[in-house]
């Protein structure tokens, strides 16, 4: 299990991401649940950001929730697996567990791309 090397060097804050996507219209509310700064959560965040930048430039908010700091928040979105990405908006609610390494499947999960028939 190899982690992407570049992810370590990106000290990205939530605010920054939020400020980048400020376009009117459909704004995507995304919440990423992690448990501490594990390589997997860092990778997940990097993968997520890459997808958003590509497909939703300026139309997304990412909130990162660290369950180690706020364990009580886990029950609200029924979080079991870490990392979990929750698409709060647009409706309906979607959940994608895993480090989002498989971009194709992540896109399908986020409904940014219809599920291909052969898959």
């Amino acid at each position: 299990m190899k982690k992407p090397a570049d992810s370590d060097q990106q000290p990205m804050s939530l605010k920054e991401i939020g400020e980048q996507g400020g376009e009117p219209g459909e704004v995507w509310e995304l919440r990423l649940y992690v448990a501490g700064q594990t390589p997997r959560s860092v990778a997940a965040f990097a993968n997520l950001k890459k997808i958003c930048e590509e497909h939703l430039p300026g139309r997304y908010n990412i909130e990162v929730v660290d369950l180690i700091k706020h364990p009580q928040l886990a029950a609200g979105d029924q979080i079991l697996a870490i990392p979990t990405l929750v698409r709060k908006l647009p409706q309906p609610l979607r959940k994608i567990v895993g480090d989002l390494r498989d971009t194709e499947r992540a896109l399908v999960g986020l409904q940014l791309r219809p599920a291909s028939p052969e898959k």
Binding site: Y33, L80, V97
Partner: protein, 598 residues
């Protein structure tokens, strides 16, 4: 050689028994068969098919832990929401809201919706760990239930990750030192559908809900319990308004205390037949008989006598409703209703076919434990066969009798003997384990049926060997002597006619004696009359003789007077004057004397 010796010494030095710490469940019977409860600080797996009672057992483990043993708990529900759970167990008397408010219990509902979840890449179940950890820390929990963690298999696709994470979870639970209960669905040919038993290896309990002949029985078995000698049998269990109860039925022995006390059967004449004092307390009494011979009436008398002594009685009736028994017994002058009102008598009426045998046994156990009676009536035991097969019924009754004996409860069993069967035999072959066996039978004679009772056996007392006629009257049961005639015993009308015959004979004898007496009296009277007559005759004769004597004197006097007169007339002189006055005086005196003698 040397190795052997070394081994031996090392064996001697190691402590033989080190008791595994236990987390008591507080569930009646379960702690007994597990030797004190589930293993403390280790996970226990409870498996069973749907509706077997897994959730309830695990919830009761938590609730009792929180209430009775001051061990708070966490219930992680994968199937039902907290509200549903609260509602479901409220019927068992558990108030989860209250416990949650007191921070003795935390309920976390985990919902996994596969349709909402997609998986891309690696993940772990740290979220679950964090939630569980937070709940444990929040309540200071010592007990954790995961019900049913297998639902994760339905919600998540990556089995490899899941299995690794479950292994880690159980390890983690052990490290936290909580006594965990994990429930799992029963699988085909395996204990659990997803093989959870390979992760939880300390204690595995299997719940079973079996339907045989449309009758369901719940059973519990300890499949495995590391470090503990446990009962390996299947134990019946009950789920009712008080929750779970398991019956450690086979652990009973023959070590019960015996009592010298004797208690009345409620029928004085029957007590006389039983060595004059009645049954032994704590003994088992069986009443056999064909249909309609008064078995229930005999039981009712026994119950009535016990209630009169102020003892509690429990009446299990498998054929009649309490109201019917009370009404019917009123017709023989027994008011059982008064004892029900005073809560000395309790009825429990169910159809034998309503439950399985084990269930019946479980219910009887439970009610006996609750009510603590001195007398238990089971009317009739034979009908329990309908709830199972003959062998099962036999085993169950032995267990029941052992249980009642151990508690010093006098058991009164009735058994219906079928027409075609050997009469001195019970359907369930318990005749050898009962202490007293009364037999009520029909005697058909002279175109009618009558009842007769005898004591077939009664251990430890000199009992009567006589057959007694058994009458149900408005004032209760009457036992009468039977007449033994040339055709056998005489009962009912035959007895009555025999009595009438004897009465007539006696009457005749009496009349004869009276007649003789009268005759004798008459004879005496006649004789006495004759004696009186004779005496009278004699008297008359005597009187006659007297009067004759007087006449003679008078005649002499007259003659002498005449002579004097003659003499005077012949020679007058002074002297005869004197004699004349003297003579008349004398005569007067004599006459007077005679009158007084008469």
């Amino acid at each position: 050689m040397q190795l052997n010796r070394k081994k031996k010494t090392s064996q001697e030095t190691t402590p033989v028994t080190r008791k595994l710490p236990k987390a008591p469940t507080g569930i009646q019977g379960l702690d007994e068969i597990t030797g004190g409860g589930f293993p403390a600080g280790r996970p226990t797996l409870i498996c069973g098919s749907a509706g077997a009672g897994k959730t309830l057992l695990s919830m009761e483990f938590l609730v009792r832990g929180a209430i009775q043993y001051n061990e708070p708990g966490v219930f992680m529900a994968f199937e039902e929401t907290a509200a549903e759970l609260t509602q479901n167990v409220r019927s068992l008397g558990f108030d989860l809201d209250e416990l949650v408010k007191e921070k003795k219990l935390a309920i976390d509902y985990v919902r996994i919706e596969r349709s909402e979840i997609d998986e891309t890449g690696d993940y772990d179940l740290e979220g679950l760990f964090i939630r569980l950890g937070a709940a444990i820390d929040g309540t200071g929990a010592k007990r954790v239930v995961l019900d049913t963690i297998e639902n994760l298999f339905a919600g998540l696709q990556n089995q490899g990750i899941l299995r690794a994470e479950l292994r880690r979870l159980f390890r983690w639970l052990k490290d936290r030192g909580v006594s965990a209960v994990i429930t799992a669905e029963r699988g085909e040919g395996a204990l659990t559908r997803h093989g959870l038993e390979e992760y939880v290896s300390d204690c595995v309990i299997l719940l079973d809900h079996r339907i045989t002949d449309q009758v369901s029985t719940r059973r519990l078995r300890i499949v495995k319990y590391r470090g503990t000698a446990h009962g390996t049998n299947e134990y019946p269990f009950l789920i009712d308004e008080d929750g779970f109860s398991v019956l450690p039925v086979t652990s009973l022995g023959l070590q019960h205390q015996v009592s010298e006390e004797r208690i009345s059967s409620g029928i004085p004449r029957l007590d006389t037949m039983l060595g004059g004092k009645g049954f032994y307390r704590g003994s088992t009494v069986l009443i056999s008989g064909t249909a309609g011979t008064g078995k229930t009436s005999l039981s009712a008398h026994f119950v009535d006598a016990a209630c009169r002594r102020g003892e509690r009685c429990l009446y299990f009736s498998f054929e009649e409703s309490p109201g019917q028994i009370v009404r019917n017994m009123r017709s023989i002058g027994l008011d059982l209703g008064q004892w029900i009102k005073k809560d000395l008598l309790r009825f429990h009426s169910t159809r034998a076919t309503f439950y399985g045998l084990e269930m019946h046994l479980a219910i009887i156990h439970k009610i006996v434990q609750e009510f603590q009676p001195r007398v238990v009536v089971i009317d009739p035991v034979g009908s329990l066969i309908q709830a199972g097969n003959r062998r099962d019924a036999h085993i169950m009754l032995i267990r029941l009798i052992d249980f009642l004996k151990q508690k010093g409860i006098t058991a009164f069993l009735t058994n219906l003997t079928g027409g075609g069967e050997a009469i001195e035999k019970t359907d369930v072959e318990i005749s050898s384990i009962v202490d007293s066996w009364l037999f009520v039978r029909d005697i058909e004679l002279g175109g009618e049926r009558n009842r007769a009772l005898y004591v077939l056996k009664s251990r430890g007392m000199a009992h009567s060997n006589q057959l007694r006629e058994f009458l149900l009257t408005e004032r209760g049961i009457d036992l009468l002597d039977v007449y033994v005639g040339p055709e056998g015993v005489l009962t009912g009308s035959s007895r009555l006619s025999q009595e009438a015959r004897e009465n007539a004979e006696a009457m005749a004898r009496k009349q004869e004696a009276e007649r003789r007496d009268r005759e004798r009296r008459r004879k005496r009277e006649a004789l006495e009359t004759r004696i009186a007559a004779l005496r009278k005759e004699f008297q008359t004769e005597e009187e006659d003789a007297d009067s004759l004597g007087a006449e003679e004197v008078l005649r002499e006097r007259v003659i002498s007077h005449t002579r004097e007169v003659l003499a005077r007339s012949r020679q007058a002189d002074k002297e005869p004057n004197k004699t004349d006055s003297n003579g008349s005086k004398n005569r007067n005196k004599r006459q007077h004397e005679k009158a007084s003698r008469q």
